[in-house]
């Protein structure tokens, strides 16, 4: 869009002569709030704490403009120039490679746009980010906010108290909870405290699956609270809610919205995505707000910061069922890739698999690459024709996981795609080629975390078959042993 400034106010303009695309107007004036103006309540609900594009807003431009002129709506730059260097205000992109140009029918100029966040709608040199500057919507909460009936383990309740404290004092806190510790329940008291203080709170997670799984649990725990569940294509887009559950992508649409932001599985991102996520998280938070990070596997930098006292953290070193984490065993299996090329597999691997089939014990077997896994599949089917393999682009992925759950598959071969999120109650786990660089410390801890999850079957065997131990394997094992030791020391284990 092109704007012109008249009497200290931005006016949309269609004439080229006296107007400019918004990114070329250095200082954007903000009119003072007119208390007598009758603002549109729907627009208020939609825009509070947001930064949206004109295309995202189902109201005509003249209505938005009138709210701006009366001080209720803000226009911000979509693309910010520092000298000649552009940056995307929404996703933080500054990398040349993620920008491109197009001849723009909106402003009539060659417009720069950001490719990095284009899936959320295109931001270009003539795009205003539209936000709210008026009063926030009233929220009236019931007397009893939480209806959650469950109880917390000792480990959970210690962490829960820390979360409440961080939220009340607008602090940052890392909750380092082992796989199977029951981390969601640890949030309930904190959420309740935030809502009681009329704070707006958000749980953000990288995966849509997790949003869909958390939504009903939170709605059940807080039945009278409006919950917005946000992911690509969700219907709650326009809903104003004190409690939001969103994919981390959706955070890009928020601006100074949340008094408490809970980031789940921070470690699940590839390194390159992390920067734009950090940017999105910082923008979505209020300047004074709490930030809770949840993870089972903090990266090395974060672990170091925890040890040196630079990062506030709390651990839940034991599972809710009070049994120790199964510790992986390392078994050398020679040059297994070379063998596989000749359509053979190491004898000790075959024995491990045959034992599981004979004993009727389900197992997950991880491979570093699809092609290796697909070569292994026909070889392993000599033990059972029903063995299956699954990977990220497999269209039958969901069905196969479902069949595994229904115990119709004795053994499921997988790439790292099943390293987190999915749980089966009673399985053993093997990694073939644990020396591969794809198996980082955190990947291996997550993989080990698949075993021994239910209280009826708290033990499970974890075997890392390798062609030379790596540091990552040793660190993963050390981390698991450390957690067990701490669990024992704090009295969180029964044995």
């Amino acid at each position: 869009m092109r704007f012109t400034i008249k009497n200290g106010i931005l006016l949309p303009s269609n004439t080229i002569e006296d107007s400019r695309p918004i990114s070329q107007i250095p200082a954007l004036p903000q009119p003072p709030l007119n208390q007598d103006y009758h603002f549109n309540g729907n627009l208020q609900q939609l825009l509070t704490g947001k930064q949206l594009l004109l295309n995202d807003i189902p109201f005509p431009l003249n209505e938005i403009q009138s709210h701006y002129e009366n001080g209720y709506v803000t226009y911000r730059h979509g693309i910010i120039y520092k000298g000649k260097q552009p940056a995307c205000a929404r996703c933080g992109n500054k990398d040349q490679q993620w920008f491109a140009y197009y001849p723009c029918a909106r402003c009539g100029e060659t417009c720069l746009y950001c490719r990095q966040c284009i899936m959320m709608g295109r931001i270009s040199g003539c795009t205003p980010l539209i936000g709210w500057n008026g009063p926030v919507p009233d929220t009236i909460h019931p007397e009893k906010i939480s209806q959650w009936q469950g109880t917390l383990s000792k480990g959970q309740s210690e962490a829960s108290n820390r979360v409440v404290g961080a939220i009340q004092e607008n602090k940052e806190l890392l909750v380092w909870a082992v796989c199977g510790a029951g981390k969601t329940e640890v949030l309930f008291a904190g959420i309740e405290a935030a809502l009681a203080a009329k704070k707006r709170i958000c749980i953000a997670t990288p995966r849509t699956d997790v949003v869909l799984e958390l939504t009903p649990r939170l709605k059940a725990a807080f039945p009278e609270i409006t919950v917005a569940s946000l992911y690509g294509g969700s219907e709650d887009r326009h809903l104003y809610a004190p409690l939001t559950i969103a994919t981390t992508h959706q955070l890009l649409r928020f601006y100074h919205a949340f008094d408490a932001l809970i980031l789940d599985e921070v470690d699940a991102f590839p390194y390159t995505v992390e920067e734009s996520l950090q940017h999105a998280a910082i923008q979505a938070r209020n300047p004074a707000s709490a930030m809770i990070y949840l993870t089972a596997t903090p990266n090395e930098k974060w672990q170091r910061e925890c040890r040196s006292g630079k990062r506030a953290f709390t651990t839940i070193p034991a599972r809710f069922h009070r049994h120790p984490l199964p510790v992986p065993e390392f078994i050398w299996c020679g040059n297994w890739q070379k063998r596989l090329q000749k359509n053979r597999m190491p004898v000790n691997v075959l024995r491990w698999i045959n034992e599981r089939i004979q004993a009727n014990k389900q197992a997950l077997v991880f491979f570093p690459h699809i092609s290796l896994m697909e070569t292994a599949l026909p070889i392993l089917r000599q033990f059972a024709q029903t063995i299956e393999a699954v990977h990220a682009e497999d269209p039958d992925r969901k069905e196969k996981v479902q069949k595994m759950r229904a115990k119709e598959i004795p053994l499921l071969l997988t790439t790292t795609i099943l390293e987190r999120g999915v749980t089966f109650p009673n399985i053993d786990v093997a990694v073939i080629g644990a020396e591969d660089t794809i198996f980082t410390e955190s990947a291996l801890v997550q993989i080990a975390g698949r075993a021994g999850r239910s209280k009826d079957h708290p033990k499970g065997k974890i075997t890392f078959f390798h062609y030379g131990k790596t540091d990552e394997m040793l660190k993963a094992k050390r981390q698991i042993i450390e957690m067990n030791r701490e669990g024992l020391k704090r009295g969180l284990l029964d044995c």
Partner: protein, 238 residues
Amino acid sequence: MHLFPQDRCLICHEIIHPAIGWGALFSQEKEHFICPKCDGRFEKIDGEACRICNRPFHSLDGKFRDGNLCHDCYRWEEEPEWQGFLDKNNSLFLYNDFLKEVIAKFKFRGDYVLAKVFAPFFKDELARIAPDFLVPIPLSRERLVERGFNQAAALLIASGYPTTELLTRIHSEKQSKKSRSERIHLPQVFKVEPNISLEGKKVVLVDDIYTTGSTLRHAAKLLKEAGAASIQSLTIAR
């Protein structure tokens, strides 16, 4: 350090390693905007196809075929008022799930630079057809402002060919849900620029997808009635 901004795939953003696994569509001389993996996911249209609309016969049940025409084209050509306006449609690729995703990102998300992915193929086709005028199917003013650019014009600009805006839209785009008979009997959706002589000219209409062919046939009819000698069309997908 990225010395060569071109070395990343425009679709998946992976670094392009030109040494390995060239797909069938790659040739060494062409500039590479995409990686071999993405390249391999496009399915080029070849083999026997409908004489008019370019629909491949190998995936078509025999009963939907009438000689060298598909049943759809046969029915259009049966109607005297639609006969012989569109001489031939040329499409590059099958509209598979991958291409659907790429076109959606290009057109609906507005990732203009993706036009470059198709430009080398457009160049080849246009060199072969050698038209006098290249006409992008126009968008309505509202749609153009909403999207920011016309995807058909973008394809031509990226291919280095000039566009001639011979057509303007007089009705909005919202016709995709209408039945076939409604589409055929729809009043004309375009009007022709009166100040350009079309007498004896070879015109190529450009769009992103050939779906029902009705938009292209409406445009072809107008241009032929305005004097054009022949009308072909060129689209990415079929």
